[in-house]
Symmetry: C2
Subunit: 488 residues, 2 copies
């Protein structure tokens, strides 16, 4: 047997043969235990069709891993095996984890989400998918929200070729899965991984409205589906689990059901990928129905839809978890309110939320003759916000390690490191002068940044202590103050 | 004795003589009862200095009123008297009252507040005050917020010549009032009245910070002060009582104290002028300190400071009272966040809040060499928002009677009358197309309105039923649909 080498946080896969009669999706429960020294990790395998069963595993430590498969009657050389986990290749930092109100990869590298949304890009023709991947490669986005299930919604009427469940007459056989569908989905997730893009995989969504019925399956089917998805896709380090998009629009599911679905994901995902649930209109308002309780320990981070990013500070304080505002309104010109923000408004929201410590997502919804809209289908980006978000990333990269929201500058969103650097953003505010009480004894360079024009103007000299800066008196301006000499 | 004629909601005043020894402000409690037919109304009089005592009364019905004064030993022809109340002159519609979520004058005329703020304009030199009044006369504003007490704050450092209390050495005699100060204040309130401008009189405010101590007087002084103010100024039909501005910044007063101050105003104002209390940063947020409970019956309407006018619908629903957002951020270029919004942002907030059924106030804070800033001193307006607010008023005037927020158009602020007219505003949203489900059988004219450029473009022909309107795809656009023929 050839010794396999798998990089850390890569994928090991063992294929074994078994029965193809009856319903192997239901009849066989395949598990495997992977061991390294005193560690062991149990994972579920899955049926891939045609008598083929797979076990996948993402090793998180280097060394010689062994494994043992159970649930099928297998010859010894299939039942057990081993592989060598080797150090990760450049660019592989492992899965993303929560680190206080922020995120880090498992190797400690800071990860700052700049997400976008292409709900059903994986359902599009291959040429569109290739364009989507090329567009992402040239974009500032390092996270994408996408759905497992197809979408029945405005601009999304086409019947999908395949779905997670095989067709059965006019309906679907909910006791089986379609391995061809999943192999294809996996290829897209891997393509994202290779671009360094996190895949925020939406497990349920309301944009079905009974057409296929995936939004209203029996609860035991929901749980079986989750286990199958986890067994197949959990091994990919760029996976995040989004329990649902706009969960509150799924009238068929009650609050307890969401708890139980979270529990299934929590119990069956050996890697404990990030878990969230994204709201529609239900928000944190005492006079409306309450948001899903994000204090619950199985919610790893907050995934919100809201238009007012000035509330980010409060959300961080309320939940003490990273706050990802995946939808703040999309840049576009659609009829629909959620899809016709100006680029200026989107960029203003992204800057505001970012400097208050949130992670604000992007989407684009311009009408066009082809009906191909980025927010759902992917393809091409034509709007004004991606370049500005890329510019924001270059500005953030100028901040020293440990940059975080600074509360002392409460009257304008500010991120920085006390005594070293301050990045302050004024949005729709247009001060003609700005007084700052900087530390005395440290000389700061002052850059006046036009976040829309993407220009940076370094002012002459340096400032220190109490200063009064002349500013352009127009909107969308930021200032970056950086210590001219590193502190002693 | 010459028969006096006073117009309805005008001011009747009786002057009587009494002691000028001791402390007449404390020693004498002057009251009068006014009678018309079976009605009687008790009012308090007040000491005006130099042995002169006044009783003022605002009659609310036409006819022959008689009165009787008590509290002083007076000859019969001073103790009793009468006057004739005659119909109001044009432009006099009586005090403003609450009418559901809206306002009406007492004669039933709809009153829609378009307020501005000049906190201490009455403390400025006479030439500035005259300019303020001229500016108001040419402005769209029909309400002003102004303080009784002087202001100690940025751009407001000058020592006032007079204050409500007479000076006493380095401090003030809190057992007396300064009639000269009040006569002057009354003249300003009357000048506003004659311009048709409601006077939202701020009774307490935090911008003293102990310099004069009017923000931290003994509670019994607060109550005596309120009674004196009511006795002098309650007779002016354009008075609104604002218990405080940014009440939550007045750390010396507790919640119970505000209740008691409200009670004093409620009990001593025979005309029941509007009563409100304006917040600083304390808002309706479950994680912060709560807003003063606006459900309390003595609060006539909601007076808010908030930046997000999209919340207006919720505020209306929560309190069931008119919602006046007196401060949504001021147009200007100051250092301070509250004073450096772009005109575009202010106008967007005013349109949004207005079409959601709120009443959004204006303020202007541009730096200038003189240090004279509209928001505090009055003088001249130089910003871009007043003309646009005037334009908004002309658009609103095109709506039929009974226009109100229409919930069915929840995804964009809309005001109108079902089947007759719809005014919908998109703000920072920039739809290139807009689908509307209008009543069939009614033909509507379509005006596309650029709220910033102040242009109105009438589209050719009419529309009816389900329509798809091509729109400019830029921000700050509204559409007005008006029935081409009145409904049968």
């Amino acid at each position: 047997m050839v010794e396999q080498h798998v990089e850390q946080w890569g994928v090991f896969e063992a294929a074994v043969s078994g029965p193809d009669t009856g319903n192997p999706f239901v009849d066989v429960t395949l598990t495997a235990v992977f061991r390294l020294g005193h560690r062991s990790c149990a994972v579920e395998g899955f049926y891939d069709g045609d008598g083929r069963y797979l076990v996948r595993f993402m090793p998180d430590r280097c060394g010689e891993w062994s494994y043992e498969i159970s649930g099928l009657d297998l010859p010894d050389d299939e039942r057990t095996g081993s592989f060598t986990c080797v150090p990760p290749a450049p660019g592989n930092h492992g899965p993303v984890r929560v680190s206080g109100p922020a995120f880090r990869h498992e190797d400690g590298t800071r990860y700052t989400p700049f997400g976008t949304t292409c709900y059903v890009w994986s359902y599009q023709p291959e040429d569109v998918r290739q364009r989507t991947l090329r567009t992402l490669a040239g974009s500032p986005f390092n996270k994408i929200r996408m759905c497992v299930f197809p979408k029945n919604y405005a601009f999304n009427e086409r019947e999908p070729e395949r779905t997670p469940f095989p067709r059965d007459g006019a309906g679907f056989d909910l006791t089986r899965f379609d391995p061809v569908f999943f192999r294809d989905l996996e290829a897209q997730v891997l393509a994202l991984r290779d671009l360094g893009v996190e895949c925020d995989l939406i497990l349920f969504h309301p944009y079905d409205r009974g057409r296929w019925g995936f939004d209203r399956m029996p609860e035991e089917v929901d749980h079986a589906y989750l286990r199958y998805v986890i067994a197949r896709l959990g091994c990919f380090r760029n996976i995040w689990w989004s329990l649902a998009n706009e969960y509150d629009f799924m009238r068929e599911k009650c609050a307890d059901e969401w708890d139980r679905l979270f529990h299934t994901v929590e119990q069956h995902d050996p890697y404990q990928h990030l878990r969230s649930i994204h709201n529609g209109t239900r928000m944190y308002d005492p006079d409306s129905l309450r948001l899903y309780d994000h204090h619950k320990p199985w919610v790893s981070h907050v995934s919100l839809q809201h238009w007012d990013l000035h509330l980010t500070r409060g959300w961080r304080a309320t939940w003490g978890k990273p706050v990802v505002v995946d939808e703040c309104g999309y840049e576009g010109d659609l009829h629909q309110r959620w899809g016709n923000l100006t680029a200026q408004a989107v960029v203003e929201r992204v800057w505001t939320g970012t400097l208050l410590g949130g992670y604000v997502g992007h989407g684009e919804t311009y009408r066009n003759a082809s009906g191909e809209i980025w927010w759902s289908h992917g393809g091409d980006l034509v709007g004004g916000s991606p370049a500005r978000i890329a510019f924001l990333r270059t500005v953030l990269d100028r901040l020293p390690p440990g940059a975080a929201p600074l509360e002392a500058f409460y009257d304008a969103p500010t991120t920085g490191v006390e005594g070293q650097a301050y990045l302050q953003y004024f949005g729709q505010h247009s001060p003609g002068v700005r007084q700052l009480d900087l530390p005395a004894g440290v000389d700061f360079h002052v850059d006046v940044i036009d976040t829309w024009e993407m220009t940076t103007q370094r002012l002459d000299g340096t400032v220190s202590g109490a200063v009064s800066l002349e500013l352009p008196g127009r909107p969308y301006v930021a200032v970056l103050l950086t210590a001219a000499t590193p502190p002693a």
